[in-house]
Symmetry: C2
Subunit: 242 residues, 2 copies
């Protein structure tokens, strides 16, 4: 089986593999936050593309998370920090969520065999899910407004490394080679490696860097959020709990 | 000033900077071949997108180079090997050239402040050109059918490294950071680093790997092919010779 890494939503058509599991990643912070929310017992997350859609849900009494340009939208119950989605607030609840980049990437991939969300905090759970399904894998990096970013590429490399090290997967393309090399060369030193990147600067400028170590620490959340269509609505639900 | 690296022609609109010099790279082998041809005295190269256009030129008696999927097209005088364009054959001549990926990338970038072609064999000459113009730089990787490749990304990292080391440039984005790290981590070991990549496999399958060491050796050609519009026609001409 093969694992590929698509560095930007703008490249998705080039890496599209309808038979593959697509793992959407937005390390800082949408898919980390989703994994944290499921760990804390959220029942479902509806990823929506626009602020307007979230506001329609909010008007009907839903719990809503909304972020644009790293900041929580004023009207929302939650922003895009994994620390917002505590068990007290989300256990047993349904949440609607929009973020600058991550929810859009989920929407783009919705035609794939399966779509799940991955982050370092649920890396091993996602790897186990891929091995269980025994399918090709495409990691779809959310990036930032279609630009490549380091943190999502690194996650793609980490998942490639875990899967290839089982002996059951190989790199599908140069992109997977690049990502895996980035990961193996820098995995002992992630905070320093990421320090000069665009998104760390963005988080620091908004005093939001508190979540960075949490986002980079593997395997605190043994959950896999999986996408399904319920009527016309995209919904993420947890499919694995150990 | 800033240097950015666009990993694929499919991302060009995201990295487009109309005030920048765009350096189009296709290490294996179009832009290496162009630099070699100018070193050997070719007067001009017309990059064209389609085989049909090249055949129209050929019917009018032009010297033509044409490659698809690494192989020379039957009707062409030259393929896409730098060794095809000897001084005996090209000195003082005008050539029309089409390749699978490289000539298309040139066409995409034609609206930029300046467009030049770069490869390891003219790395320092291109860096000197950028420093002379004192402009932002965007390296446009030709990739392979819009997929990211290792060799063009590495060239982007090499040019970023040379320019940033002058103290006059900084990385414009995470993409430039990724490319520069790839280069600095692997520059002593390029042949081994590239061995598992898609294009090396493609060249080996067609017994064309003879050009690889030549394509990876810096600075054998002190030339910069620069794009201009002559009427409606795109033409590359050499702008620096030392």
């Amino acid at each position: 089986m093969k694992i590929d890494v698509c560095f930007s939503p703008a490249l998705y058509s080039v890496y599209h593999n309808p038979e593959a599991i697509v793992v959407v990643v937005d390390v800082f912070r949408a898919t980390t936050t989703m994994a944290a929310a499921f760990k804390n017992g959220v029942r479902s997350i509806r990823p929506v593309a626009t602020v307007e859609e979230v506001q329609e849900y909010e008007a009907k009494g839903w719990l809503v998370g909304a972020e644009r340009n790293v900041k929580r939208c004023d009207f929302a119950d939650f922003g895009n920090s994994p620390f917002d989605y505590t068990a007290e607030k989300v256990a047993g609840k349904d949440v609607v969520f929009t973020t600058t980049n991550g929810t859009r990437a989920i929407t783009i991939a919705k035609e794939a065999y399966r779509v799940v969300t991955g982050a370092f905090i649920n890396l091993q759970a996602v790897a186990d899910y891929c091995l269980f399904h025994a399918r090709d894998v495409v990691v779809l990096c959310s990036g930032w407004q279609d630009k490549v970013n380091v943190e999502d590429t690194l996650f793609g490399g980490a998942l490639a490394d875990v899967l290839i090290n089982t002996g059951k997967y190989e790199s599908a393309s140069d992109a997977a080679l690049i990502a895996r090399d980035m990961w193996t060369d820098n995995k002992e030193n992630l905070i320093a490696y990421l320090d000069p990147t665009d998104h760390i600067a963005r988080l620091k400028a908004n005093h939001l860097e508190d979540a960075v170590p949490y986002c980079l620490t593997p395997d605190s959340a043994i959950v896999v959020p999986e996408l399904s269509m319920e009527g016309e609505t995209l919904v993420l639900r947890k499919v694995i709990t150990i």
